[in-house]
């Protein structure tokens, strides 16, 4: 077995005339988290489905735990756990029955399946709701049960397809700490996400895909460095002067600054750190006082924008996220 828990080379998948995967290659070292980052329709879910043996790729190879996903799918299935974008649990059964069902399908004895179900319900704080039909659960509870269901067989490789989409910050934090706990136990995780902060927090390696192709990969730090330079940001103390600040910044840098948040925070990528003192001087000459003025490394969102030329569909910041 190789040092990679997941290894894919040149995966191709076509649906009719559309090419969903156009040669995706990625490797996930055993016991690490790979963040698969990309906008809607980039091919994230298709990649996961191919690696989880749910669809057969039209080209390329993929190995999970050293087993070929096309030729030895049952061996791959014995190693993996899968949590999709929506909670794939049975609403007409109780939480406990859902977990029992999976345990029994994994050939556990009745007592062993019951024990495992109890263990997981406790871990995901669902013990009180264990005997209730899942249709009475809240969205966050369903998602936790779905995660629990993917863990019944103690998978060595876990696929999390946008595990926090639509979750509130509290549940999102719980999912994150659960992922960290699993990784501490040696589980390999492939996580897809549209959220930069999520990939930044959890993943040791990131693969960025767009239109079914890998457009960048590396550690979060490497990606930020590869895009080059830094971000110069400024906000006028008197927000009526925002336009003047924008004009000064674009005159200095030679690029129109982007507006973030409520539109008064101006950001522009720069390659020369001396731009910061230069901006300070120009603002001073114009008698403009700023409430924020900084030179910082780009966020993954900005990296993504630089790589693809377009943002992710619902961006990286929380304001847009809760509206999505």
């Amino acid at each position: 077995m190789s040092q990679y828990a997941i290894h894919a080379e040149g995966l191709i998948k076509r649906f009719g005339k559309t090419t969903a995967l156009d040669g995706v290659s990625l490797s996930v070292p055993t016991g690490s988290v790979l963040g698969l980052l990309g906008p809607n329709g980039a091919g994230k879910t298709t990649t996961v489905r191919a690696l989880a043996t749910l669809i057969q790729p039209d080209g390329g190879q993929a190995y999970v735990g050293g087993y070929d996903v096309v030729r030895e799918p049952q061996k791959v299935r014995a190693l993996i756990g899968l949590t999709g974008q929506y909670a794939a649990v049975d609403e007409e059964m109780t939480g406990q029955e859902n977990l029992l069902l999976i345990g029994r399908l994994l050939d556990m004895s009745r007592p062993a399946a019951r024990h495992r179900a109890r263990e997981l319900l406790e871990r995901f704080e669902l013990t009180d709701a264990a005997g209730r039909a899942v249709k009475t659960y809240s969205g966050g509870m369903r998602r936790r049960l779905d995660l629990a269901a993917s863990l019944v067989g103690r998978p060595r490789v876990l696929y999390l397809d946008e595990p926090t989409t639509g979750l509130d910050p509290h549940n999102q934090g719980e999912v994150w700490s659960m992922v960290r706990g699993l990784v501490a136990d040696g589980v390999t995780v492939l996580l897809t996400t549209q959220y930069m902060d999520e990939a930044d927090r959890l993943a040791s390696e990131i693969v960025v895909i767009d239109h079914g192709r890998v457009i960048a990969d590396g550690t979060p730090d490497e990606l930020k460095t590869a895009v080059g330079g830094q971000i110069l940001e400024a906000r006028a103390a008197d927000t009526t002067q925002t336009e003047q600040v924008a004009a000064i910044m674009s005159g200095l840098v030679g690029a129109t600054p982007a507006r973030e948040g409520d539109g008064t925070l101006l950001t522009v990528p720069v390659s020369d750190p001396a731009m910061l003192p230069a901006l300070v001087r120009r603002l001073d000459e114009a008698h403009i006082v700023t409430s924020e003025l900084a030179l910082r490394r780009p966020s993954l969102g900005e990296v993504f924008l630089a790589l693809t030329g377009h943002g992710t569909d619902d961006g990286g910041n929380d304001k847009e996220r809760s509206a999505a």
């Binding site: 299935r77 007409e92 029994r104 004895s109 067989g153």
Partner: protein, 276 residues
Amino acid sequence: MTATTEIDTTTPESIVDTGRRNTAVPSMIRHSLTLAWRTIIRIRYNPEQLIDVTLQPIIFILLFVFVFGGAISSNWHDYLPFLLPGIMAQTVVFATMNTGVNLNTDITKGVFDRFRSLPIARSAPLIGAVLGDVVRYIVTMVVILAFGMALGFRIHTSPFAAAAACLLVLLFALSFCWVTVFIGLLARTPGSVQGLGILFMFPLTFGSNVFSQTSTMPGWLQAWVKVNPITQLVDSVRGLLIGGPVAAPVWHTVAWAAGFVLVFASLAIRAYRRRA
């Protein structure tokens, strides 16, 4: 079944320490039965799933016996023994829709993806869905016979013949429901399964001898009614419950049932493998 070749005997280390079961029962059958258990326990939280096999046949019996019975036959007393076997056939045919709808719901909700990501035979979820509905068919036969008897229906043959009638209806339902399994795998939403299913079932159940004698119909319709598998089933059940020739219709019914399984189970399994 081809899927059995996929069953793998290696034991994942992760499962060993939680106690893997060792039995002589092939895992494909065991997993299918586990999934059938799931279909059955779901009824508890969704008892309205049984309306189509309990209230609906009762309404049909009341409607046809008391509203149309006198017009179709000379009086409703004579019509009841004729109608009841027909209602049994019609109800189970409509009841098979449930299998396709449930399957499609599982697919659209992602539950099927979870099953497909487990190391179980690919055909187990389909077989489990089909077997799980056996309970519904048994419920409906008991309800129809009991309600019919309350209205004065009597079995004129033997308990053995009556049991054979019920078994035949069950066999037909289990084979016919592969049609709805196939539709369930092709359709985009559970609602469209229902729509497509009705399109298929109306000409089968109403274009038959369920409600009236074939001889009263125009020639072109008789041609259809005579080849209709429902007619064969209804003739068999009438013969087995109230007397009459049974050999030919039973043989035809069994042949139709085998045909449905052969054609639609293989179509369904192929559609299932293709549906990604």
